[in-house]
Symmetry: C2
Subunit: 224 residues, 2 copies
DNA sequence: TGTACATCAGTGAACGCGCGTTCACTGATGTAC
DNA sequence: TGTACATCAGTGAACGCGCGTTCACTGATGTAC
């Protein structure tokens, strides 16, 4: 028989899962209630208070689980990616597949990242910032894009994470049961990241250079 | 004295504004109630039903207003932007300044884009898709990036819109009353868009080219 | 222009319901001797 | 090992409150003659 603290931990997990079930059913985390969480966890409403002070507290518990999921995902990406030329596709695939396998958690992330209470939003933003810094460190460790200034590299990593976050929202929203749409969105994201990396590779640290590029394109077009 | 239909229109507007007030107060649209909307509109709860069938219906009314705001913004961007080399900065500035001047509406957009009911999410996604297509048409009309295939240009426009959407969420969330942080985020976004455009300018329509760019960077680094 | 009737936006009472939170409780698990 | 007591996760009744929605209503605006 499990010890008292083990049983308590089980109930805590059941409450967190209950909240995710609410999200999985198509509801917004922002409109959840303590009673609905307790109902899904198979526990009386008052039990909630043995584990969390309020719903924000529970949401922060979910962010902790999200954090673990993201770190596992990073580890998987670091080990499973193949040669350089497949690295982007593999990484995006691992991210998207994780998001699909762990849908309620990533739906919660999408919702609470843009809405909900400020403290939870900040906690999720912290996780994504950490993710971006890890990506930045990996790029640096690969010896790639070394001509970029630290701030430009940071900005590039943030741009890539924003792009991946956007695809997550879109896939969970529009392609839940549509395998071929999932593949199409994966491919689009890979292409977008490739485009960002091409931009980084050709980036020169000067504020006027980039718009020169655009003007040059325009001229070329007109003369042709 | 206003006619009956004019008065009705005024109440309708008051209800829409009441919903935005709820968002402005720091609450999530997903947790609003009909009674709270009516209270902020200075009207009895039952009046709500003279204008909307339910809260989704009201949300779609807000999306209509958002649509108008976005179209005005596009028009402003087309008329006010100066020479090519300032165009990106001017456009981002116009977008960010509009979002700050019209905060509750853009906060609603951020929230309902990722959470809330499916029908509202779809409506907002449609607006952003329209925005991306307009951007695409403008780039084409300028004669820029004409070497890109139609699908690559579409993807580029979507990437830019995603980036602008991300900055909107971040500015409304973290820089509401911090002018210097607003400026910093504006600059970062300008840089990100410039980077995307550099990438587009150097893009060649071949699936292996982009990762070659990355590998080339890596090699260069290792040999130096 | 004046009168008589129709329309309908907004009102206010009422309903049953789910909400958060309190409280005293129960009984299995844990601890001290 | 056995007993007596302490701890505490989960229970269930109870509370006052805001919710969505219904209904019959009122009285100003609109329309027909």
């Amino acid at each position: 028989m499990a010890s008292r603290s083990e049983r308590k931990q089980q109930t805590r997990t059941a409450l967190l899962q209950g909240a995710l079930a609410w999200v999985e059913e198509g509801n917004d985390f922002a409109s959840i209630s303590i009673r609905e969480v307790a109902k899904r966890a198979g526990v009386v409403p008052t039990s909630f208070y043995r584990h969390f002070t309020d719903l924000d507290d529970l949401a922060l518990g979910l962010v902790d689980e999200l954090s673990i999921a993201l770190r596992q995902l990073m580890r998987e990406a670091r080990h499973k990616t193949r040669q350089t030329d497949k690295m982007i596709y593999d990484s995006v695939s691992i991210f998207v597949d994780n998001a699909l396998a762990n849908q309620p958690m990533f739906r919660f992330m999408s919702q609470a990242m843009c809405g909900g209470s400020e403290i939870v939003r900040r906690a999720i933003r912290n996780e994504l910032d950490y993710f971006a810094r890890e990506l930045e460190a990996d790029i640096r460790a690969m010896g790639a894009l070394s001509h970029l200034s630290p701030s430009t590299l940071t900005m590039t990593a943030q741009l890539i994470i924003n792009t991946v976050a956007a695809i997550t929202v879109e896939i969970l929203d529009t392609a839940r049961d549509n395998k071929s749409l999932q593949t199409a969105l994966k491919k689009r994201t890979v292409k977008q990241i490739q485009l960002i990396l091409v931009g980084s590779a050709h980036w020169r640290e000067s504020s006027s250079a980039p718009t020169d590029e655009l003007r040059e394109e325009k001229m070329t077009t007109k003369s042709s």
